[in-house]
Amino acid sequence: MKFIDEFRDRELARGLAAAIGQAAQPQRDYHFMEFCGGHTHAIARYGVSDLLPANVRMIHGPGCPVCVLPIGRIDMAIRLAMDEGVILCSYGDPLRVPASGGLSLLRAKAALGGSGEIRMIYSGADALCLAQQNPQRQVVFFAIGFETTTPPTAVVIRQARALGLKNFSVLCCHVLTPAAIASILESPEVRQWGSVRLDGFIGPAHVSTIIGSRPYEFFAAEYRKPVVIAGFEPLDVMQAVLMLIAQVNAGRAVVENEFARAVTREGNRKAQQLVAEVFELRRSFAWRGLGELPYSALRIRREFADFDAERRFPISYEAVPDHPACECGAVLRGARRPQDCRIFGSVCTPENPVGSCMVSSEGACAAHYSFGRFADAAVAP
């Protein structure tokens, strides 16, 4: 496919690997966090880390919306289907995330014998269609995701109001990238303990098409960390690593944009305006692994309250502790690697995930399980 295949070219990758090898100074170490699950997946799937010198280490970040969704939020979605009898519509990714009581949305779907239903949808627009086709039923769209996925939800809510739908609402769990980056930089592991060293960030690809490159300038200036926004293809990631190394070598910390084919400094103004019209900041939101973060998520504005499932139904968020053996929290903060978790690949697998990072293919644990774990295995010489 055009604009994909060219950015996976083997020869160009070889050239970039050589350039990285020359740029990386042997006397120093480089620790870069790729914020997004999309980058984590690309690095694992295409073996990018094997093309990097040993002193260039990639640390996986918390930018997988499925992974940072706390159990209590999945519980809310399940309760809507089981107790309130709604048709709950979810993207495919959250369906297998473990929830309370041994349930997941998928298991709840199988267990539902009553009036409620759980449906997998591709787009929020599909949920809207379901509401139109089933006027006697309440339809709730379980809206999760970072800034990439938020504007489509805003469009759907505006359409629902224009259509005067009385049976459609949204369980809003949209979260904000800059808040998560700030939380990593402020975390005790980075600031006090020094156990996570970060020399720079690979910035999000598709999130940045919406918010632009400007929001990261604060991190570069305030925390002196270079940020390079990169596309999700392997060559994009390698070029970003090269650009980060060059910044570190030169002692610079600025925002650079490798994904210039899709990202501008201003971002998508139209989408930003739609989001601002429909959503406002939540005072606080619970993230898996990162805890309660102030002003880190969105909720539906009062003007659109009729479409807010949290106002329409008697449900509220209740915090639920993660599985005690699960290290997802530390993995999401970059403090542990997936293979450092003692249930990784034994009790916890993509077929039977214990923690959220093993669920989505973009989760650090699932990516390492699917593509990287054999590299760790000792083999006969």
């Binding site: 496919m1 055009k2 160009l12 970039l16 990714d93 995701g145 990439t148 996925t149």
Partner: protein, 82 residues
């Protein structure tokens, strides 16, 4: 989750909709988040919505830069060893 694909717009439809070509498969998407999209443009599609247009000139420049860096790396000895 933020998976999105570059797709070619093959037809503009009423109601801010478009037909796109994804590796030979036709799919109807929404153009509600983008302005001034024309047939033949490439857009990045996520959950049925075009997020932005792709700039083919910038894509060319990025690819040319990759090639240039690779060639330079193949020819030159390690910078810090000189």
């Amino acid at each position: 989750m933020c998976l999105a694909l570059p797709c070619r717009v093959v037809d503009l439809l009423p109601g801010e909709q478009a037909m796109v070509d994804i590796a030979g498969v036709g799919k109807q998407i929404s153009l509600a988040l983008v302005d001034e999209v024309a047939v033949g443009d490439y857009v990045i599609v996520h959950v049925g919505y075009a997020l932005t247009r792709l700039d083919p000139d910038e894509a060319e420049k990025t690819l040319a830069l990759f090639a240039e860096l690779g060639v330079a790396a193949a020819q030159e000895p390690t910078a810090w060893s000189r």
